[in-house]
Amino acid sequence: MRISTLFYTIRQGFKSIWRNFWFSLASVATISACLFLFGLFYVVIANFQNIVKTAEEGVSVTVFFHSAGDECELKGLEHDENQIPTDQRIEEIGKLIQARAEVSDVKYISDDEAWDTFGPAYFGENYREGFPENPLEGWDSYEVYLSDVSLQPALVNWLQSIPQVRKVNYSEMTASTLSGANMIIAYVSLGIIVILLAVSVFLIGNTVAMGISIRKEEISIMKYIGATDFFVRAPFVIEGMMIGLMGTAAPLAIIYVLYQYILDYVAGRFTMLSGFLQFLPISDIFHFLVPVSLVLGVGIGFLGSFTTVRKHLHV
């Protein structure tokens, strides 16, 4: 193909957008509306999931070890020889916990650190006055953070099977609630995304198809005077892709501006919620939204025009 022919077809694609101004505008508006809805829903769902995920990350399991004079002995139960761990064994257990797939982080809290946290919270700043010695002596513990809250039961079972572990503190309800919420969000968002995608594909595809169908006489003229399928199709495909691109750019720009505004507004107005409401940064949102919107807008513009022109090529 000649370079001049290539440039001609590209130029014709661009000119067609202008020539069929109202159709182009309607197509861009349809694509924009579909992708705006899709983007808006994605932003809400992504942030909601992020909030749940942040809450999950805060869920921890606390592991306590046997020690001389602990509540077991108070209850009249004697410790076995191996039950009271050495410092080395506690360290070993810490490493074993860290190596588990369910675990995202492990924090060792010595009995002194525990008392330094617990004392002021319950007895005020002068907590040491009433307790010259650490009442939590021997209460060394691990605070274990989960990578996936739904795996908590498996981890707890394993921890409880370690002979040196006296007690595992965990909240079954928090874990199951968060895990359930996460699952519901995943299924609902998947369902809505699939429906929105299907509606977008249908609407965008039909808009492009309709615009080409009203120009089928133009296609037949081209074919009668000896145009190849490529020559007929190329300007329509370029037009379809450009309309798709414009239809994609507009909602992305609106979502960008709107999202930044909402982030600033919430940060300024609801400072006390900032610890709980962890919004995703715009870069994380666009990391998914830009390629998907481009595939939807430009991809359907391309496929829609390609297949619709083909229907009218048999002249």
Partner: protein, 247 residues
């Protein structure tokens, strides 16, 4: 000798033997069994001027579509420019059609483009370099008497002028055959005669012209070969005939 040259020579030989258009027992039937064209045979020699006449539904336009390879014969053989159209592949059709110029009753111009662009479009299709297009298009527009109107939109032209643009578009690639489907159907008598005179001039320069028409006065006056169809059958084929001549 290359394969292309061999094929060209073969086509030339067929054109010499069978004419530039040759129909051999051609039948075109549509779903439901109706025969639009029924066992029609004739030849058109290179450089001839032929009218195809007949009532509505006689199969005239179907014949034209068979020549253009828009339709394929259900039976029989259609040979145009030495090529058996039943054997031509879909991707070869555009190249084949570039040998034919087509003019329609409703002009079929690209309404959003001006006169120059409509004619240049036919040259773009055959990938003519831009500098040659700039030279060829004004030339052919002058031939059809539209030299000064190349910048106008086709919607700004009269029916006769629009048909001239369509004719210029059909001629710009120097086709061997000019096919016209009711070219004067939408024109007043004066414009009709102007168009027919242009057809005659084009034919005088060696182009084969096939005109499907209802225009009795034109057919009777021009005294060219007339092929008459009735309900899909060829009922008459007369040199220097008149409309409705049934011997």
């Amino acid at each position: 000798m290359t394969r292309r040259e061999r094929k060209r020579l073969q086509c030339e030989k067929i054109i010499e033997e069978k004419g530039i258009i040759c129909l051999e027992n051609v039948t075109k039937s549509f779903p439901g069994g109706a025969h639009a064209v029924n066992d029609v045979s004739f030849q058109i020699k290179q450089g001839e001027f032929v009218f195809i006449v007949g009532d509505n539904g006689s199969g005239k336009s179907t014949l034209l579509k068979l020549f253009l390879r828009e339709l394929v014969a259900s039976q029989g053989k259609v040979t145009v420019m030495g090529q058996d159209l039943s054997k031509i592949r879909h991707r070869q059709i555009p190249k084949f059609r570039r040998n034919l110029g087509v003019v329609f009753q409703d002009f079929r111009l690209l309404k959003d483009r001006n006169v120059y662009e409509n004619v240049a479009f036919a040259q773009r299709i055959i990938q003519m370099p831009t500098n040659k297009i700039k030279k060829n298009v004004p030339g052919v527009l002058a031939t059809v008497g539209l030299a000064g109107k190349y910048k106008l939109k086709t919607t700004q032209l009269s029916g006769g002028e629009q048909q001239r643009v369509a004719l210029a578009r059909a001629l710009v690639n120097k086709p061997a055959i000019l096919l016209a489907d009711e070219p004067t159907g939408n024109l007043d008598p004066r414009s009709s005669w102007e168009i027919m005179k242009l057809f005659e001039e084009i034919n005088a320069n060696g182009t084969t012209v096939v005109v499907v028409t209802h225009a009795k006065e034109i057919v009777d006056t021009m005294q060219k070969r007339v092929i008459t169809l009735k309900r899909g059958k060829l009922i008459n084929d007369v040199e220097e005939g008149v409309y409705g001549d049934e011997d």
